[in-house]
Symmetry: C2
Subunit: 418 residues, 2 copies
């Protein structure tokens, strides 16, 4: 994989130029894209021109290539939202985060494949770790492009588990920041209380560096930031739905953390927080019914998504309001849990990537945290019984992204030192 933070340092030290890094991507793309299908649009020639811009090496992203999930508008690349209906659609304006990437000196060689409107219909992308397996969804192309070494950084989005799940399946780091830390203006909306833009990179240090460069926030991690953290393990009421691979990964992470000197305790989630898991779909689907009303009314959706929205149409405003109150109570209660820990540790996905392409896997271990708006990181480094990656999820306190990333980086080191 391409290590974003190392490449940045290489460019700053003039060991590499932005163009050199782009060519590393181009070589990997030439070798792998025909099998992986990570890109919905690609324009390497335009990227090469952009990579020659004077002064690029001194910018925060130093000309690093950044892939943009194809539910995020780009003014110079088509944006199809994973649909046939919007094939060739060319937005007039860049999404806010795309302008953040460009202002920070990032180069955008292409758009990465998304499932249809970031929902559940499987995409054409294959898992670079084993091409017969799903890369997960909905940010399939971003996770796969980073896993295949075709890009050092890529943006994804998460409404249920669309960053954490593909990161776990593809063996890369997925980082979903605190809700709205990255602006979603210009992203195709599914659920305005849930949609969150996140980032894929090889290691925790890479997503932390990328998020810092893109947002201008103090998120980049130096070695000194990564000390023993206090973890609370939450297996949740859905623990029995995680298979042996995910339990083994969590146990390995706990053992590695303890060996590395971290404080690790198992706790049960309070009832108010568990209750919020069940109402995530109420909020997601009520809002999706309104957000995708035009596409629904005009018959532009797959049978899968159309049927889902038809069921969603029955959700009443009262049920939605009650779900919002349940979520608010859970958020308030969740704050208490962080009084004596830095991060929660839980499953990133129910197991290894499923074989075949009938499903993109389940968001059951992600959606609660998306609803809570908390920062989440899927940390790679462990393998399941079939040899495919299994991530472990670090969940931090709302707004404490730096601390969360530092805890995730500590776990990553602990896993490497086993």
């Amino acid at each position: 994989m391409l290590l974003a933070r190392n490449l940045f340092e290489d460019i700053r030290a003039e060991r590499l130029t932005p163009r050199d890094v782009l060519e590393l991507c181009a070589v990997a793309i030439a070798e792998q894209e025909a099998d992986v299908h990570a890109f919905a649009a690609l324009d390497l020639d335009r990227a090469r021109t952009a990579a020659e811009a004077p002064g690029l090496a001194r910018t925060p992203l130093a000309g690093l290539p950044v892939g943009i999930k194809d539910v995020i508008d780009t003014a110079d690349l088509p944006t199809a939202y994973g649909t046939e209906a919007f094939a060739g659609n060319q937005p007039r304006t860049d999404a806010a985060v795309v302008r953040q990437v460009k202002r920070a000196g990032g180069i955008i060689p292409g758009k990465t494949v998304t499932t249809e409107l970031a929902f559940l219909r499987p995409s054409i992308t294959k898992n670079p770790r084993r091409l017969t397996h799903t890369p997960g969804g909905s940010s399939a192309g971003s996770a796969a492009a980073v896993a295949a070494g075709m890009l050092p950084l890529a943006l994804g989005t998460q409404t249920g588990g669309s960053v954490l799940r593909p990161a776990s399946f593809c063996g890369v780091t997925g980082y979903k920041p605190t809700f709205r830390l990255i602006p979603t203006v210009g992203m195709k909306v599914f659920s305005w209380h849930l949609d969150t833009i996140g980032l894929f990179g090889a290691r925790v240090a890479d997503v932390a560096y990328g998020a810092a460069a893109i947002t201008g926030r103090d998120l980049d991690l130096a070695d000194a930031d990564i000390g023993p953290a206090r973890f609370a393990v939450v297996r949740t009421a859905r623990a029995h739905l995680a298979d042996a691979a995910s339990h083994a990964a969590l146990d390995s992470a706990i053992a590695a953390l303890a060996k590395a000197g971290a404080d690790v305790r198992e706790i049960a989630l309070p009832e108010e927080i568990e209750a919020a898991d069940a109402i995530h779909p109420v909020i997601q689907d009520y809002e999706g019914w309104h957000a995708l009303a035009d596409e629904y009314d005009n018959g532009l959706l797959s049978p899968l998504l159309r049927g889902h929205l038809e069921a969603a149409a029955a959700i009443t405003p009262d049920a939605y309001d009650e779900a919002r109150r349940t979520a608010k109570r859970a958020r308030q209660r969740l704050g208490d849990l962080f009084a004596d820990c830095d991060a929660l540790l839980t499953f990133a996905a129910p197991g290894e990537a499923p074989e075949g392409f009938a499903t993109t896997g389940s968001a059951m271990f992600n959606r609660l945290w998306t609803l809570m708006g908390t920062p989440c990181v899927s940390v790679p480094g462990l393998l399941g019984p079939s040899g495919l990656p299994v991530g472990v999820q670090v969940v931090g306190r709302f707004g404490r992204d730096r601390r969360t990333l530092a805890a995730a980086a500590f776990l990553e080191r602990a896993l490497a030192a086993r």
Copy 2:
């Protein structure tokens, strides 16, 4: 003015057809639009065809014409956001609220004029109450179209005071619902924590009916709903900036309410709430700098807005985060105030509509409540010394829109009964 709720009842009772109501609008438009300039786009022929749709009279909006502010995307009418750069821009999809209007059986004859990107640059719209005066902004066309009897209902948006202020200046009812009660998907974003879609109508009953029909929520008011309410008058720390006309209007409202049997007390706003007023611009402008990044970077903005965003670029993430915490504390404290009152009563604007078109007036008495996300209603019925309207603002508790509208309707009756 055209009374939406009465027209709805006339259609239901077959005293009028949807087409008849559209022709009432068409006549007023023919008489007044050349002076008022409320419309950014108008397609009466298409509206006439839509008005003939079978079954329309049985829908929630019964074919009533609804104007859409031109920062809200429409798939069959151009959407220019009040800019030259987007002149003729034709979105591919309807905004979520536009689909809500259409699904509810509303007819959209045209787009109403907005100031540039809903900011402060004055628009071409004149105040129908006196053509030499501003109608306010940014929802200038929607307020003016309702005031001139050209439309029974029109949608506006508010980030600072863009619904309440023009409603006050034009002598119509302006209703800003609880934050996100009406979805903003497909609205041009200025500030994602503030942008709120609202509604203009002649009377409180009209906006309540319209909001109920559009959202499917239980907001329509029957006579029995409108009983004596408990009001707390808050003049705020900015009371000295309201001119004599606004103080007289508030005093008249207090007297009318007391005479009508309401409980009315004056209270001082707690310091935590007053503190939030000052940080509204921090949140609005930090987010605007990101939301309008494409337009800024491509030189598409007026000098006024460009200069404003350049100053906004200096706002640090830390300052923004601190402003968000200040807003959160104020919201928590504000909830307490409603323990023993149904609504707050305050200024809707600092005075009558300013003469001329150099300014759209001030949002100083609106922005705090936009930031709090609370439902607000500008109630007409009072005149200032020059004979122009002066509204009074009713502010309710977050999520208690029905109670807020009922309190506003009680005030409206009390004013009429003076």
